[in-house]
């Protein structure tokens, strides 16, 4: 399994033809207390760079863009009951959705953990 990061502060775990997507620890830290996550419907076709989810704190709503294109096969229903998972465990239990990968080439150019860390350090 490989983990990639985007400059929009999302992480992507790739396993075979499927990917799991969430937001990074850095992102949750910036957003503050997360109160709600609006997830895509299962079956939705996501296009890279287009709206995929919305993550809300008390006074802000931030769009989460699809890091790669594909069809949503599962959404993390646990976030409905407990959006705080995104704060407490953003890079595991707080995942957002899984999708089938439409085009593996879209993974090219994404960052690995080390590159992402230095990206954040420079912000």
């Amino acid at each position: 399994m490989a983990r990639y990061f985007t400059d929009e502060h999302e992480w992507i775990d790739v396993e075979g033809d499927t990917a799991t997507v969430g937001i990074t620890d850095y992102a949750q830290e910036q957003l503050g207390d997360i109160v709600f996550v609006e997830l895509p419907d299962v079956g939705a076709q996501l296009a890279k760079g287009k709206d995929a989810a919305v993550v809300e704190s008390v006074k802000a709503a931030s769009d989460v863009y699809a890091p790669i294109s594909g069809e949503v096969i599962e959404a993390n229903d646990a976030l409905d009951d407990d959006p705080a998972l995104v704060n407490s465990n953003p890079e595991e239990e707080g995942w957002f959705f899984k999708l089938t990968i439409a085009d593996k080439a879209e993974l090219d150019g994404l960052m690995d953990a080390k590159a992402y860390k230095s990206f954040c350090d420079e912000l």
């Binding site: 109160v35 709600f36 709503a61």
Partner: protein
Amino acid sequence: MRYLPLTPTDRSTMLATIGADSVDALFADVPAEAQLDGPIHGLPHHASEMAVEKHMRRLAQRNLAAGDAAFFLGAGAYRHHVPATVDHIIQRGEFLTAYTPYQPEIAQGTLQMLFEFQTQVARLYGCAVANASMYDGSTACWEAVAMAARVTRRNRVVLSGALHPHYAEVVRTMAKFTADTIADAPPAFQARPDDDGLIARIDKETSCVVVQYPDILGRLPDLERIAEAAHAEGALLVVVNTEPVALGALKSPGECGADIVVGEGQSIGVGLQFGGPYLGLFAVRDPKHVRQMPGRLCGETQDAEGKRGFVLTLSTREQHIRREKATSNICTNSGLCALAFSVHMTLLGEKGLRQLALENHRLACLAAERLAKVPGVAVLNESFFNEFTVTLGRDARDVVRRLADRGVLAGVSLGRLYPQASALAEGLLVAVTETTTEEDIDTLCAALTEILA
């Protein structure tokens, strides 16, 4: 200039602090050609309190107040007795001159009241959640249509032909700009609402069906049947109520399966006020739809010491955060009218509201019975609450005008509401509330008898 506390001495002291020579210097950013050279010409100058009051009183006296006539108007605005306590409370400065409760630590009065109001509305409508109010019933109706499109991701709206024509017109106006299509029907002039015709227009593309209960002619549609038909096609049922007192006697729309219930709250506490400000009520039956709701919501929470308190919540739906992605552009509610509603509803309580509803219905039945005996008059409705339709055998607009000259406000002619539908021209909507006396009913009957003879 009694509202302006600064003295000439204050003004010069302050200008010195600011470092400006004159007040004109403060307006230096306004281009010279846009600056006026003094008070706008041709307009009156300031006036004393006494003079203004006299002027306003003279204008008010040119109106025939409902209380000074035998009065039977309804059609979305009803005259009910408002207890004196209501007006006293809403004139307390802490309510009247407060702002939107954005600083909850010093706005618990407004916030707790809104929480109570939301609960009262939700219970009256048989719903899970109500918002903190909208502008009025007609705009709440449009917002419900827009919300149904967000929930169902469909854009075809089926409007009952017996929806208040002004409400329908608001929906049609807005739909022109949002690419919603409207499946409309002309009002059918029958003893019963055309539920079958309405159901036949629901299809797989339908986002919502909008039904008024009681409808514009005062009749009662079978909401449960319509809800079932709507849900079978994946559409939402939006029920519009313009007379909340009716729900003291009738099954609630939520209980009948309505998904969104909206209405006009003016009957409880607000008064006629020539059409505004009124009080838009908005509720949803299923709590999962809350995040698609428009308007302010007040929620319970606790403070840093663990004491119960209330805040405006789920604000990320709203324009000040979401901007062009907000569920609505609405930025106010009808706060003071919501307070009036809540105070009046608290005074009534369940017992009072039920008594009020029964009294309205009893008097309306009496009026229908007596009007039916006037030669030339026929009562259209099979069912009604406190408002029904009669036919007069001639253009009702003319009859209404002639009765008004005699000091009788007989009702709302259908010709006024439906100028294009000549088939309805003989119809008159008659509303009867607890403020109507038997003497008023007899006055109306006698005047009608003379005019129709």
